[in-house]
Symmetry: D3
Subunit: 307 residues, 6 copies
């Protein structure tokens, strides 16, 4: 994967911020202490998080659930990072939950009676929900690039990301009813707010049928479909580059307020926005950007301070 990313980066180097010179090391192996994720920095201000258990079809084992939290907590605080790309190593994005690894844990909650087992089960589910909510809480936009299968927990994951891309061969499956449960780490909450047709959401969640890339595009789950993984990664990095080139004050404020708006009325959202921008408009980025706009320069030619 690292080679592919590098080649994309070379081909698209024109995208990157000219005013910045130091590039962080680009790792291609799982970064210690992560055993399920590989984190690299393919370009200035871009962090790439790769689901990286290809031998297990990137299935989500116990380690994965806590590593994601650690990984995105670090990213949230990394002032060098302005945008994140998430993708999967190997032949597909993810096969979802690793049933073998998780079964004992989830199927046998501790407790002396039903109430106590339920209490512990709730704690477990809440913890797993946090794994994907952490993506939303991270103020940097997250672009997710899906190739091949995206099953079960994979759909929970991508609906917590901000922009979804996929390859022509990608397919998506809300798998949970097939294994006897209602999806409980985000799909039922976020998917209906991500795509426009409730009839389709219901059909997907109630029948566990596969949805292929064409339908994913037409229903709005993904905003773009690419011919193959190389093209998609190139597109994802280009898109990430566009975002990274803009004022982080503007970009991260945009993400935070878009999420706020999703869960509030329009008038509540406007009030919050005004309270947000009363200070966020007092930024040099606005002056620099406005000046660049008047001079018809690209935002990419404007150097911004870290955030």
């Amino acid at each position: 994967m690292a080679a592919l990313i590098r080649s994309v980066f070379v081909k698209n180097r024109g995208l990157w911020l000219p005013g910045l010179s130091a590039v962080r090391a680009m790792s291609s192996e799982p970064t210690p202490p992560f055993s399920t994720l590989s984190v690299s920095h393919p370009a200035i201000a871009v962090t790439h998080v790769e689901l990286c258990r290809p031998a297990k079809r990137n299935a989500m084992n116990q380690a994965f659930w806590s590593e994601m939290v650690d990984c995105f907590s670090q990213i949230a605080l990394d002032s060098e990072c302005r945008v994140v790309v998430v993708s999967g190593a190997g032949k597909l994005f993810t096969a979802g939950i690793d049933l073998m690894d998780m079964a004992a844990h989830v199927l046998q909650p501790e407790g002396d009676d039903v109430a106590r087992m339920s209490w512990n089960m709730r704690r477990i589910v809440t913890k797993y929900q946090e794994t994907f909510s952490i993506i939303e809480k991270c103020p940097k936009p997250v672009v997710v690039a899906v190739h091949g299968a995206c099953v079960g927990g994979g759909v929970d994951l991508i609906t917590a990301c901000d922009i979804r891309l996929c390859t022509q061969d990608a397919w998506f499956q809300v798998k949970e009813v097939d294994i006897g449960l209602a999806a409980d780490v985000g799909t039922l909450q976020r998917l209906p707010k991500v795509i426009g047709s409730r009839s389709l959401v219901n059909e997907l969640a109630l029948t566990a049928r596969k949805m292929y890339s064409d339908e994913a595009k037409s229903c709005g789950l993904v905003s773009r479909v690419f011919a193959d993984k190389e093209a998609m990664m190139c597109g994802a990095l280009e898109l990430a580059g566009e975002i990274a080139a803009r004022s982080p004050v503007a970009v991260q404020g945009t993400k935070i307020n878009l999420l706020y708006s999703r869960d509030h009325s329009v008038s509540e959202g406007l009030d919050y926005m005004a309270t947000w921008n009363m200070s966020m408009l007092q930024t040099q980025d606005l002056v620099k950007s406005a000046q660049a706009a008047m001079e018809r320069k690209s935002p990419k030619d404007v150097p911004f301070s870290k955030l």
Copy 2:
């Protein structure tokens, strides 16, 4: 209609749960005490509710409004039923409200002054709203199959269902402004949450123009369009079969939480979901389904207890 359903069932018998043998009687005539609905059981765990006043274009008269409530209240408690299909008898789905039958009732509310007439009018409207809300409150998924016209009250009805299918010749019309009122039994509340384009919702509701099946598909009102009624009923039963074959704990929990999510923020939805699943994961269905999945068996080969 009964003949058609039976032929569909015969053609598709491969769909049904092999482990179950007793099939409930299949009625094709309006079930007493219903004068406007025909209720049958075309397959194991599937209930078919047919709007059945074909001579009156399935127009909604006074009896209809209370029979729907009775019918779906029974279904909600029928542990044999796991999924419902709704369709219309005759040449079209429904012409909407039966103006002749309803006019006296609605146009002349009782009361000694405007306040008292308003009070009674509110009671009437609230009662009619309940007729379609009962579909949402029923925890079993409801698939609606529309052919020909679906007008006025018909749109209120289908937006309260979970999955919408239609034939190529189907058309939809939010008719209310044409008769001088704002739609008040569900369309204005549910349609904007069912399809993705608010511009289109507004246009439909403000102009009462007809929308045909192609646009209904592209905007997401329906998730599939079929060539004709026979194909649609076949598809509807196949879809119903897919749902009926899965764990009722998983399926009904999915419906309840999808509806909860529609009306709450993501974090509220997640909290409710975790509280829901703390007990609902303690089901034999999960064990059976997970085992079947590992053995690469279909969910249809797994027998589940009633719910």
Copy 3:
């Protein structure tokens, strides 16, 4: 522009209400005291508001922000008006905010310290938000017709309208991140509730890329695309005519309840609707319309009282 509108009106005169005869004067020049808007009455019960600073690409200067409030406040109270059409004069819809005119005002809020500057900045943002919220508060439906560019503040404006139309050459750009700020006068709050794909909303808002008319149609931002401006204005007036021909009690109640539904749960929306209609069903419009419907007459042949 006036000539075009007149020609459209002449071509489509069959659309207008036959029972009404008095046509208000059709102005084509900016109505005093408006320097940025031209208000005319191209047909019975239809008000046309034209962004009218073509030499400045209809950019939004300081005068614009308060004139919009005055204009729509007048329209809200004008019982002759039943529907509004908004469009732009000249070569494009609007270039968005007039940076030159606004910069001093926004970039230099008064105040002795950061808190006081923030306080004043919040007052300014809140005032600008009101400029577009006034469109929503106006109970008459607003149809907006976009040709050419619709940039920045233009997107804020059109998302506050009820129905969006555009020409084949139209394009839309959420421009704010390019000038270093998070959009704060409505786009981030309304766009996600206007179109169905959140992935697309995020991409547009985070990258400031242009979206062309085809994509605007397929994602649901606009409900119709026309070949050119003349065709669009004809279509807009025809659509406005359809709305104007119907009961204003029904139409305005529909707008108010659709907006209420957007920001509330379905059950809250139903309760409000029942409380609304307990009096609004006590209208002669219902009797007249129902009678016309039974007689198979068009709503356009029914004269309604003013509202």
Copy 4:
């Protein structure tokens, strides 16, 4: 009890509406088909519901839970009734849930696994919640008069009433933690909205300690304390008479909007109120009352139509 009520009525007959003459029959025995409630009509427009299993300390058995729903559903539709008084027969108000009668039912929900037993348990709890919610849904104000013990389910009941009175010897106990459960039919939801001190609410609910009448008065749980039951019933009927004497349009609209306000923001409440009163102000009651006020007559001298 009937004798006491009658004596109160005789002493206070000056309270009752002079314009009305027909008094409905005053029953003092449990009205068929009620085995746990006694319903009577001690004065014009006043309905008295008495918990009436004195030999069992008015404990709530299975019959009680459904009889309350039937009883208040009838009252809601009884246009003769303008206000309700609830009290308990015998030595105390109620000992709460009848553990003996309920245990089998609640402790042994049906179901093949935990999920199915939970599903059925939820159905049971929801049904019991409805027993007290029905009091809120009844638009007529409900005055509850408590003497002696009010334990467990009794607190759930009284917090759903509108006005609470008690005798000097009354005491209240949120008993549920003592029997190993969190109170689930209303106390935890309504008590914190009924009294002002959250510290006290928490203490009562977490320790199950008794609260006596003095503290109940000072914390606002009850609005008045009477020396003994006779004085209290006299006071309750006098209070009920005050309410019954006023315009039912005003009174019932007041109850509905007070409840709406409890659960909404002030601006939401104001919007609903304006929408409510746009028709409810169009009442003859307003004209009659305003005229009486100008003539310095009492509301009791004004005859109002039924509602």
Copy 5:
């Protein structure tokens, strides 16, 4: 009244900010163009608004409703003003709505049918609601001082204020049910959020009984009771002086966030607060105040910039 205020000011001059010298003119007559209000400036940074139609018992006529809006809109923008005191001229606070003046207006809404009359009635009610909401929208704290009667609209008014004081002879009456309507300009929405006992709120609103000052104090409607009007005005001005002496950034931010909290969950309130204070903590007032606190100086000795 002016004489009284001046004497209070003289007696309490020690209260006022020593660093400020210019005192605005103290008017004692109704300020043009107000016919129902008298506005004066009894001390630095304090504005006194007096209901001033003593011959009519300060009853609220048509002029009053719009003058209040004008008055408080001016105050909101007056950077010299940091706190407002509201009281009534003459023998009592206010007799409430001026029935004679308002009757024609409210009892006879225009409109050709019930729907249209309702539409216009809603516009009127909404406008009157705004008269008191404007007090909440004004970011400066409003202290209201009540003597004698406070009836009907008076209760709507005072519940929209921030701090309530009264004299020993004061009494309060939610009068609306007595004139045949549900209170619709704020009492039913705000009173339950102002005092702690819902039983009492319901009793007051449903029976229109008078509440005297002792009960008003014990239930929390007022926070202090004074022997007579002179003592109360002295206390009100002292209290206003305490508020005026503190940082306007701190004080007005406190009011805004207290109101926000009233209508939101705790976690929503905390989020808003953090977003508010991210800029509001960047004030010189914090530095000045912290320094004064460390030097054990009073806030009154700290000069703050205008806001």
Copy 6:
């Protein structure tokens, strides 16, 4: 302090659960790694957290804010603990924020422009808010016992606890406006939901005046006042013992649902409660408790499993 606690424990040992024998070690010195808190276990299932910087009047320094989070996170997971008591070491409860220690941190946020400083300030405030929110998130009830002064941050802290007690000499002060800021770590959000009089809340927050124990009791801030600290600690432990003696399933479910109810409508709260109890009623605690109740035994004689 440890000696006092021990003496209280000895005097009240009759309170503790007889079925349990192992008492955890009782520490009286600050537990490593806490420098500001002392954690001990004065009785079975009771954890005592003492603010312990008496030489600095228990002022809240930087260490305090993170130690509280660690401390309560541990408690939340400690299945031995069923209830928490919080108090202050030395002469008073707490002087609030340690201005000297915090000033540099808060007054000088990092960042290259106002927007970036605001961004960092928001992060700081959010972190400090979490310090007290962690008390609410802990499912075990928290009893707080206040003696002497409780100033500024102290009020934020106690409003996040479940039950408040104080000594006769206690006083409370919402100090923030005195140092130039709006209270931002909980007081403005929680205090209005803790006590019943909004007039009083506003007065306290806007003037920073002290409130003494009598008023704290009458307004409901505390539920009990004790003569001195020894009596209060005895009372606090007795109260804690009452809670610890009851089913932890019942007690912790009660806390969670009381908090849920505070921030939701009654019907939302009831729905959540039913979903909660569908599993939580399936506990042996209910059987044991019901049996004990029928046998007229105290809950304290019932041994419950850990939770």
